[in-house]
């Protein structure tokens, strides 16, 4: 039973972390599913959102959870603008170009952050930051519980938007049959930019949920970007359910890896899963096609 008393809290912790990973991955999978591009700037945009939440708290005393209605629209606008005016234009219709442009953007964003905000890690102290919830088998920090619930709600909302709204229909139409969608009057540049914007808005939400239990630093994106890629690949590129499940799997893997292999080597489990999935089953758990 001793084993279980160590394992269960680790698994529970992994699940809560995994939910936030899933949120980051949702945006990435949406962007991939529609635009068929891999957004290498995803991690650095999350970092921007984290700093946004941090400064709202540090300068104006706005609680991270209340920063939601400010950060999410701002991140949406940033994503919309980037896709419409930079990535879409630079692509020339070639995947490699788009890949390189998002890589370039990530370099720019990260190093600007390094210059303006220095490499110091920044944390915030909220009144609830150290309170915990008793789950019987383990105590889990309140922010992590909130993050888990928030991530599940947002994933549900995203699914509703995609299934029930005209925008969602337009996005899915464009993803499936770009030429046909344009023939029936869907404006491709606009809808592509909307998808990218929504994907980046997810990062804003993730940042609000993350910061109370996490920190902001210019390199923070690195930690997330490969994890998010892993989740997206594991769940199947473009699949929402896959991203959610993949996020939980990766969260638990990381938590257990840390438990058994130590902080530094523990992260290797994620990348090994990543490489194995890419090689053996690149369609992932729920993906339709390679």
């Amino acid at each position: 039973m001793d084993q279980l008393s160590i394992l269960l809290p680790a698994i529970l912790n992994g699940v809560t972390t995994g939910a936030v990973y899933a949120l980051v991955a949702l945006g990435l999978t949406l962007i991939y599913g529609v635009l068929h591009i891999i957004n290498f700037a995803h991690g650095s945009l999350l970092m921007v959102a984290l700093y946004g939440v941090y400064f709202l708290y540090a300068l104006f005393g706005i609680d991270p959870y209340l920063a939601f209605p400010i950060i999410v629209p701002l991140m949406f606008a940033l994503g919309y603008g980037l896709q419409r005016y930079v990535i879409g234009r630079a692509g020339h219709g070639k995947d490699e170009n788009i890949m390189l442009v998002t890589l370039g953007l990530s370099i720019i964003i990260e190093n600007l952050a390094l210059f303006f905000w220095t490499s110091n890690t920044r944390t915030i102290n909220t009144s609830y930051g150290f309170s915990t919830v008793d789950f019987g088998v383990a105590f889990i920090a309140v922010p992590k519980v909130v993050a888990f619930v928030g991530a599940v709600i947002i994933a549900g909302l995203l699914w509703l938007v995609m299934q029930r709204t005209d925008l969602g229909k337009a996005i899915r139409a464009l993803a499936k049959e770009p030429r046909g969608a344009q023939l029936v009057g869907i404006s491709a540049p606009h809808v592509y930019a909307m998808s990218f914007g929504i994907g980046i808005a997810c990062l804003g939400a993730a940042a609000c949920l993350l910061l109370p239990s996490y920190y902001a630093s210019p390199q923070i994106g690195h930690a997330f970007v490969l994890i998010a890629f892993t989740i997206v690949v594991l769940g199947g590129m473009g699949s929402f359910g896959g991203a959610l499940l993949g996020g939980l799997i990766i969260g638990v893997t990381e938590s257990l890896g840390g438990l058994f292999l130590g902080e530094s080597l523990g992260k290797i489990g994620i990348f090994l899963i990543f490489i194995a999935v890419l090689l053996l089953r690149p369609t992932g758990l729920f993906g339709q096609r390679a």
């Binding site: 891999i38 442009v101 290797i268 890419l278 090689l279």
Partner: protein, 320 residues
Amino acid sequence: MMRAGVAIVIVLAALLPAPWLLHSDFWLNFAIMALYYGFLGQAWNILGGFGGQFSFGHAAFFGTGAYTSAVLQLRLGVDPWLCLVFAGILGGAVGALVGALSFRYGLRGSYFALVTLAFAEVFRILADSVEFTGAGVGLQVPLRQSAANFQFPDKAGFYFVILGLTALGLAIAWWLENSRLGARLVAVRENEDAARALGVNVFRTKVIAITLSGALMGLGGTFYVQYFLYIDPTIAYGPAVSVSALLVPIVGGLGTVFGPLLGAFALQWVNQFAQLAMGNAIGLNLVLYGVILVLMIMYMPNGLFGLARVSARRLVRRPA
């Protein structure tokens, strides 16, 4: 066809006397770094430019070469020049391994970029965790300056070594342009399915390219270690090397013999001006690299060399 060969000889001959012409260590260092990045870019160009396989993780090969050199020297007392050979072999071996795995399972485009990125990250974590690579502290090669020890007392020695490596890189690129292997590689880049239909062994061709590319990166890793006498997991396997290696040929001209060299010198100038203009502010020169990368892809997707070629063609055509 022979023209490119003659051009290589001319360029190398023009570069040879630099140590006697440049009297300052500053400018010699400038030339060494330009050639060094040009060499890394050439290594990437073999796979990415000629073969169209965009790797975001060439640091995996570079770092392996660098650590091979440092570890063999420090732990087993192997001759540094011999280490260069081993670094090339191991860099190539890692290239072959990564290539065999990813190409065997048909990874292309963004999937290939992702898997290479992940491989580099796995190596970085390993180097950060195990003992014989010095973990996070890194490895320092003790200073024992002598040519026999691959530690030249003056920069000229390093210059000739990197020029030699540049010659090797140019020769391989030239050979690719004129050999069957190169033709197959370009065919794979342009249309993999069509190439296969014509009887090209796509898998074999790509694995040979990534092995060659990895071997050259490994040599570059050794050069880095001997020049700076220090290596740590972030320098060896971090994204900075991978990004420089791909940026150089993109700026200069993908899949061309001289593109990487041209791109590296152009970027080195940009870097120098950036440092003059903005001081040694952390990160700002990388911001500039990012901006250049985005602008190049937006407005000059064929690189500087492509631009030169287009204008040369225009000049030639005008009289006709």
